[in-house]
Every structure is written in C-alpha cells, then in structure tokens.
Amino acid sequence: MIGLNHYLLLATILFGIGVYGVFSKRNAVAILMSIELMLNAVNINFVAINKFIQPSNTIGQLFAIFVIVVAAAEVSVGLALIISIYRHKKSVNLSDFNLMKW
C-alpha cells in the first residue's frame, strides 16, 4: 500500500542524489542539473503533501508550478552565465571560475 511516506521517501532520495551531485561534480552544467533534481524532489513533496493532507484544494500544485517557473528562469540565466564565462575561460570547470578571488 503506497502512502504519503513512500512519496516523501522518494523525494528525499532524489534530493540526496542531487546534493551528492552538487558536491562531487566539477562541470558547472552538471551542477545545474543536480540542482534541477533537488527542485524536482521539492515539487514531489509539495504535490504529495497537498494531495494527502488537504486534497480539497490545490495550493501545493500551485507552488510546484511556481517552483517550475523559477527553475526555468534559473536555468536560463545560469546557462547564459556559464556560456558567457566559457567565452573568456574556455572552460566550464568550476574550480577555474576564480575571478572573484584575490
């Protein structure tokens, strides 16, 4: 019998994988992808909790949609940043991105 806890567990595992990806990768695009995984995990939580705790309305889904919007904006700006830095550094390796260090 699948209940809310299964959904929450799935979301936790996805979030954990995303966290590991953010830490263990060097490629900036890969890190962005890991962040997307984490955002998706959050969305699952929103929707699942909405559905199980308060099935009469859809505020959780609404928030998930806002998260998706923000994620789209974040990805577009993030990728534009990466491309822009790549033009100067010829690299997408995050350890090369040390312009602000002194």
Partner: protein
C-alpha cells in the same frame, strides 16, 4: 498486504526515477547525464500523474523535459571542448566526494527514518483523482495573482538577462 496495480506503477516509476537520477550524477559523459535527466523528469511527471495532478505532470513534461533539458543540452554543446567521455568527470579531490556522500546519506537516513516511523504520514490512503485545472486557475488568478504576475515578470527578466549575458555587451 497485497500490491495493487497502482502500487506496482508507483514502484516502477519511482525506481526508474531514482535510477536515472543516479545516472545523472554518475555518468562520465555529460550528454548522457542530460538525457538521464530527461528520463528523471519524465519519471517525476509520472509521479505527478500517480498523485492525480495530471495538469502539473503535463507542465512538468512540457517545461522540464521539453524545454529545460533541451536548453541544457544546447548549452552543453556550446561549451564542449574536450572529448565527450571526459566532459563530466567527478571532482578529483576525495574530500568533496566524502563531504557530498556524507551529507546526502545523512539527509536520506535521518529524513527517511523519521518519515518512515512517523505516525502522521502513514494513516493516509491513496490520493483521490479530481479535476485540478479549474481549482488551479482560480487560485492562480485569485488569491495568488500577485505571485503569478511576479512570476511572469521574473520569466521576462530571465529571458532578457539570458540574452544579454549570452550575447555579451558589445564594446564600442
């Protein structure tokens, strides 16, 4: 405790999602990572369908699988200057891996056990499927109309910002 069709579908979809999420993190070729990401997005969309949020699942497919992942793949193709097999190597220092693994495992174990043991979450049965589109529209253009407009402005800004960043400022 018998397994219904719904449960079987959930197990298959969640398994697919987790496996493809692992694929995103562990592939050495970043294009494979991105394609696994598409699969993970589709899996999450399946979870949404399972939860009765059909509209949200379709939004997930349209925006994530159809647009964001394409954007990511495009960006990857624009910033690739080494062999495909070496585009997504893990960080060479062991320390970061340890940190990441520790944090992730800590998260999964603590949250997972607490979720699993919590009485609060176990009482509830499978979700009821209902027409969410109308409710969603009323919320979006009713109570949350300001957030909706802000989101629209945010998207516009993101588009403009992305164009400016990616094209670069022309130096006179």
């Amino acid at each position: 405790m018998s397994i219904t069709i719904n449960d079987g579908v959930f197990i298959i979809i969640s398994g697919l999602t987790i496996v493809s999420a692992l694929g995103v993190v562990f592939s050495r070729n970043i294009i494979h990572s991105a394609l696994f990401l598409v699969l993970a997005f589709l899996g999450v969309a399946g979870i949404f369908f399972e939860l009765g949020a059909g509209f949200l699942g379709l939004v997930q497919i349209l925006v994530y699988a159809g647009a964001i992942s394409v954007l990511i793949i495009f960006a990857i193709m624009l910033v690739m200057n080494v062999e495909a097999e070496k585009t997504n190597l893990p960080n060479p220092s062991l320390k970061t891996h340890l940190w990441g693994a520790c944090l992730a495992l800590l998260l999964i174990i603590t949250l997972g056990t607490s979720i699993w043991r919590s009485e609060l979450f176990q009482v509830l049965g499978p979700p009821a499927v209902s027409d969410a589109v109308g409710l969603l529209a009323e919320l979006m253009l009713g109570n949350y109309v300001v957030a909706f407009e802000v989101a629209a402005v945010l998207l516009l800004l993101a588009v403009v910002g992305a164009i400016i960043l990616a094209r670069g400022v022309e130096e006179e």
